[in-house]
Symmetry: C3
Subunit: 159 residues, 3 copies
């Protein structure tokens, strides 16, 4: 068992299955694309263990509370790690989290995007530690996200 898998297990966390898309939806791109030692990660949303999209959907600040949105950002980290494990085989291959772009589906006037995306950043740092896990970040408010998900995060890492 890899060091990273062990850490995830110690935290009592489970990586979800691949996203189950709604019927009729085709996404013509991979969740993770490896180019040399650089790994480009498509925008991920929160998933349940069986790969279904997490509930609730909607905008943060009206339909979804900050606390719930923070949980969804943690789940988004697990969605991304699930995709990375399926693509890389072993999460210990990850050498650096370079860039994290955190997008929050934001109700008019909502301005606490960093508190939401902290759920993602703190979990990545807990699993990977301060050197590998260190990432530049933006956490910003979108007018809408696919399928009404409250949080979507894209990233770039190195292996």
């Amino acid at each position: 068992m890899s060091r990273t898998d062990k850490k995830i297990e110690e935290l009592g966390l489970v990586l979800p299955s691949e996203l189950k898309l709604p019927p009729g939806v085709v996404l013509p791109f991979p969740w993770v694309s490896v180019r040399g030692n650089r790994v480009y990660i498509s925008g991920h949303g929160p998933q349940e263990e069986d790969g279904s999209m997490s509930e609730p959907t909607g905008q943060v600040g009206s339909d979804v509370s900050i606390e719930k949105a923070r949980e969804l950002a943690e789940k988004t980290a697990l969605s991304m790690l699930g995709s990375l494990k399926r693509e890389l085989g072993d999460l210990d291959r990850i050498k650096a989290w370079n860039r994290v772009f955190g997008m929050v589906n934001s109700a008019p006037g909502f301005d606490k995007q960093p508190l939401v995306i902290n759920g993602f950043s703190e979990l990545i740092l807990e699993i990977f530690g301060p050197e590998i896990g260190r990432h530049a970040r933006s956490a910003v408010g979108m007018a809408g996200l696919p399928f009404g998900i409250p949080v979507e995060i894209e990233a770039e890492i190195e292996i």
Copy 2:
């Protein structure tokens, strides 16, 4: 004639001229910036063959239908390929599409951004094939875009 130009011609497509900016607008940056083997592509919108901005403008989900927005995303791919050809000389120099960030000017409640940006992704895959054309992607909803364009896409590629 390069392989990529031939493919574009076979598909009956034409790359547009450089964007004609509205009077008085100055954009102090290039559409494409080559740094070593990495190519950073500024946000592009849909253009007509003569370089004028495509109509209609406005938000998708209210002013602009999904079907029309999907067409505009295809046109955005052609705008980008036009800029790349002017900068690189030969589109066969493109070795990898790494990252595509698809932005949709979204009316309140619009959540079908992936269906729009699929117009871009599918055309890139058709022209470049599954290995070179493979890209990580996000497709998300913006509160507004320059000049009211319905779709803007930025990307990063390798030569």
Copy 3:
């Protein structure tokens, strides 16, 4: 004194102190993350010389005028250069501005994001010149930004 510092002084500009966060806010990421010769820069907002967030806050096109927002984009360039100087020691180490992603907190219907972000781009070009300062750029409208700041910019550079 480095060439870049001299240029900043000649322009009568001063780099601000590190951002003073509102009480209780913790941001678990660095403002600048160096990975090899690549530097990932987190989303920055406008700051005053003492590190406090600049006023006014709110959306451009309603609460904040274009002219004021353009000034705030210039201040955001200085915030970023302040962070870079603290991390790199010497701004002359910067070899290339690769990518600039300019986000404008946009009131409904606002579509002049490029005029705002030009404040950032023009100052970077003035300080670094056309070769080092050349950057691919997008300037787009967000539904909300942290703490209600009108402008946030992230970037990627090379040293």
